[in-house]
């Protein structure tokens, strides 16, 4: 009896046109390599074919398929559309959503090779990262996100009908301005989004049930200030200082309506959902790029894709991981794909074929063999900052010719303070890691005090590092948004983190009122 032998030398597809059969075949082949050979672990996949317009649409609503309606998404769409139509900018080949099942969008215009690449990149690379990285495991709820977005969308359109577009827009504008200040950076309690929906319904029902108009008629307590609590007591009561401004406003702003609080909550949850993605750009892209490169190479080695297809893949792969040098016209910062991919390859190299230098720098990693396992470990346990700090090797620094520049506004020149040499390696690595530290990149702004007994002024503090102040006009505009939500005066004080000296103050007076008052 002859066993049925699959012929690995048979091409999976031929030519550029794609169809569902080919995609299915390619998916199976890719899945085989990814799961069996590379040991990846992924959410179930869902691949959706979309048009260029739908891709633009997904772009403009921060990559989510079910976003609520807001003018800013229309604005981004208008801009992206013009850029695309005029040929200033291409479209991404794919968009992938951290959900379970993991949804990857592929464009109908792509060639079959591109579809293969996208499946390898998104459906396995990103997917594995989403499922296994500890940040995502800790912060996001892949099962619940799509349902929650659906809930948010209906809730917001319901609000628009009930309270008017303008009122909803005012709250959303304010919430969007505070989006980066709307995340918990330290885990409190893990809540999944399904429960969120249920709780919102329950709150509403409870309010409806316990509504009693009589309370309105109860005489107000006799005038006269209550005994002022001490500052520390008051702060404790309000949970201050608080860096999650949206959270604070949602819970404590005195003049907001129930639905307005719920809108803040929605924006806050979405912001929180994207928080891990912001912290893992390099790793996420590095992971996906490394995975697609491995898979495509394997497909080529085993004769499942043609030479032509492999060349087409290499062409697009190299342009994705291209890193222009600093004096190049095309330079616009470090390319996360390039750094990520280079570091992944470097880790595998160190694990399998270390040099003496590597043994000295990475005693645990060097020569342990099984590069793939080493890379998988890195994917699971780090975020960009710690990843760079842990894994950037002198070899790679030399390869990229990294150097660090200090720009002190008071000096007429920029200073090259470290280069890729023995003395500079550690400093460059530290500095590069800082470039990816969100806690360092984003200004440290906290709500520090509220004068509840007096004029209810909300006081925010920006702790200034390295003497870099906030952009004034934007800060003012955001403060106005905060004042709209808070309902009273808002003040922002910029203090030096070192000397505690006050550097600058912004204040916005009480608005005409967004709440019911």
């Amino acid at each position: 009896m002859t066993a049925v032998i699959t012929r690995p030398e048979a091409l999976l597809y031929d030519g550029v046109e794609w169809d569902y059969d080919k995609i299915k075949r390619v998916y199976d082949a890719v899945e085989h390599i990814a799961l069996k050979e590379m040991g990846l672990d992924v959410y179930p996949n869902q691949i959706e074919v979309i048009t260029a317009e739908q891709m633009l649409d997904a772009y403009s609503s921060i990559g989510m398929p079910l976003m609520y309606k807001h003018w800013s998404f229309g604005k981004h769409f208008a801009r992206d559309e013009m850029m695309y139509r005029k040929g200033y900018r291409g479209l991404a080949y794919e968009i992938v959503i951290n959900s379970s099942p993991c949804i990857s969008y592929i464009m109908e215009e792509n060639t079959m090779t591109m579809q293969t690449l996208v499946i390898a990149h998104a459906a396995f690379g990103h997917n594995h990262f989403f499922k296994n990285n500890q940040l995502f495991q800790q912060w996001t709820d892949a099962e619940g996100i799509l349902d929650y977005l659906e809930f948010a969308k209906t809730y917001i359109s319901h609000c628009e009908e009930r309270y008017g577009h303008a009122a909803v827009e005012r709250v959303l504008d304010a919430a969007h301005a505070l989006m980066s200040q709307g995340v918990h950076k330290y885990p409190k309690k893990r809540s999944d989004l399904r429960t969120e929906q249920r709780r919102e319904r329950e709150r509403q029902e409870y309010q409806d049930q316990t509504f009693n108009d009589l309370w309105r008629t109860v005489p107000k307590s006799a005038a006269g200030p209550r005994p002022a609590k001490s500052v520390s007591e008051r702060k404790k009561l309000l949970g201050l200082p608080e860096e999650n401004i949206l959270y604070f406003l949602e819970k404590k702003a005195p003049r907001l309506d129930h639905w307005q609080r719920e809108l803040l909550r929605i924006v806050r949850h979405i912001s929180q959902y994207f928080y891990p993605q912001k912290q893992t750009k390099v790793m996420n892209e590095g992971c996906a790029t490394y995975v697609h490169y491995q898979i495509m190479s394997r497909l080529h080695e085993t004769g499942q894709i043609s030479e032509g297809a492999f060349l087409e893949f290499l062409h697009s792969h190299t342009s994705v991981v291209f890193q222009p040098e600093f004096d190049d016209k095309r330079f616009s910062g470090l390319n996360p794909y390039a750094i990520g991919f280079a570091m992944m390859q470097d880790i595998a190299r160190i694990a399998e074929k270390p040099t003496d230098e590597d043994r000295q720098w990475f005693p645990d990693l060097a020569g342990r063999g099984d590069g793939m396992a080493a890379v998988r470990e890195a994917w699971a346990n780090f975020r960009d900052e710690s990843f760079v700090l842990q894994y950037l090797s002198p070899h790679l620094m030399r390869k990229l010719k990294l150097f660090s520049v200090r720009d002190d506004a008071e000096d007429p020149y920029l200073l090259v303070d470290h280069i890729h040499n023995e003395r500079g390696y550690r400093d460059i690595r530290r500095k590069l890691a800082r470039q990816y530290d969100l806690g360092y990149l984003e200004p440290d702004i906290q709500i520090v005090d509220v004068d509840l007994a007096g004029d209810r002024k909300l006081i925010l503090q920006h702790r200034v590092t390295n003497g870099v102040l906030l952009d004034e006009s934007d800060a003012k505009a955001v403060l106005r948004h905060i004042a709209n939500l808070w309902g009273y005066e808002v003040q922002l004080i910029e203090v030096s983190a070192i000397s505690e000296a006050i550097l600058k103050e912004h204040a916005v007076t009480a608005p005409s009122g967004i709440g019911v008052g």
């Binding site: 604005k75 559309e81 013009m82 616009s332 470090l334 520049v405 200090r406 470039q435 390295n466 906030l470």
Partner: protein, 430 residues
Amino acid sequence: MNIIDRRLNPQGKSLANRQRFLRRAKEQVVKAVRDASGKRGIQDIENGEKVTIAAGGVREPSFHRASQGGVRDYVVPGNKEYVEGDTIQRPDGGGGGRGSEGSADGEGEDEFRFVLSRDEFLDIFLEDLELPDLVKQKVKQSESHTLTRAGYSVSGSPANLNLVRTMRNSLSRRIALKRPKRDEIRELEEMLREAEEAGEDAAQIQALREQLEHIVLRSRRIPFIDPIDVRYNRFESVPKPIAQAVMFCLMDVSGSMTEHMKDLAKRFFMLLYLFLRRRYRSVDIVFIRHTHEAKEVDEETFFYSTETGGTVVSTALEEMQKVVQERYPDSEWNIYAAQASDGDNMSSDNAKSATLLRDVILPMCQYFAYIEVAAEHNMGLSALGRETELWRTYKQVQSPERPLAMRRVRSRREIFPVFRELFAREKAGA
């Protein structure tokens, strides 16, 4: 793994967001549209437009660090010659140009640029002028007749003979009546000749001869084409609305017309053009400008070149008459005319203009609108009841049954109300 084809999902999912965006940026968009429409030629007014609006109203602020000041560190790739302690000239555009601080998102742009579709542009343009649903109002539509094919008939002129139909009828009749074919006759003749040559017996020859005679006779009795086979293409004449219109823009360009007045006139012409565009498939525009003599010119010259001379209105009317006779017979074209003037005319010309208007121009026009433009500050003139030469002249001509409308316009704001009034009257009359 699932593959889902989302391409068939309803398109235009982004429409709601776009509408929200346009509503949000309305003030700036309206302003941009107004600026753009001022710059455009009348006939391009309908196309979509790339508009640039100030980013102010649609800015999305966030707390972020300023691009200037303080101490910053960057790690960048591609070192070629630097060693520790080297200094570099600060690149232009401040420290922000280098490293990760570059504004990747286009935030902080002063301007925002995007493309409005044709419909959006028109909507905003018309909304700006508070245009109601003018299209629904009835514009008198004259009709002409045209011939359309309407099947076949058994009578007609030879030029309309439908050969295919005729031959088909003929063929079927010949098959039905078993008309002998030419080959059959020829074959029989051949057999007869062979028989005669071979000297076969007379009875057989006789039989063949009779048979031949019979089929020759039969083929003669059944004609190849019979009058009952003949079919003609039939045409019916149906009334057809005239789908083409011509719009005459007449304007006084003598020295007394200021730029402001010309701008008012241009806006009025634009509106009329838009209005006609919505009614007719094709709209031609003829520009006639006049001083003491009239000339047909192109749009550019019409609006932007200056001319000196006196003012004789009748010349323009004569020119219009001439153009109509040459190119736009009023049986085939809907003729609209709009005349803009500051109201000056040579006194000696008034009578002639009035006659010309009454007897020649108005009878062939669907509508003749006379717009008297005045300087913006010139409020008192009509309030005092002093009417201009031309106004008085035209007023004599005006009567309910004549399609002549007259209005005064002083500022841009009045253009649209006046325009609406003109067409509202038409509706009441209809």
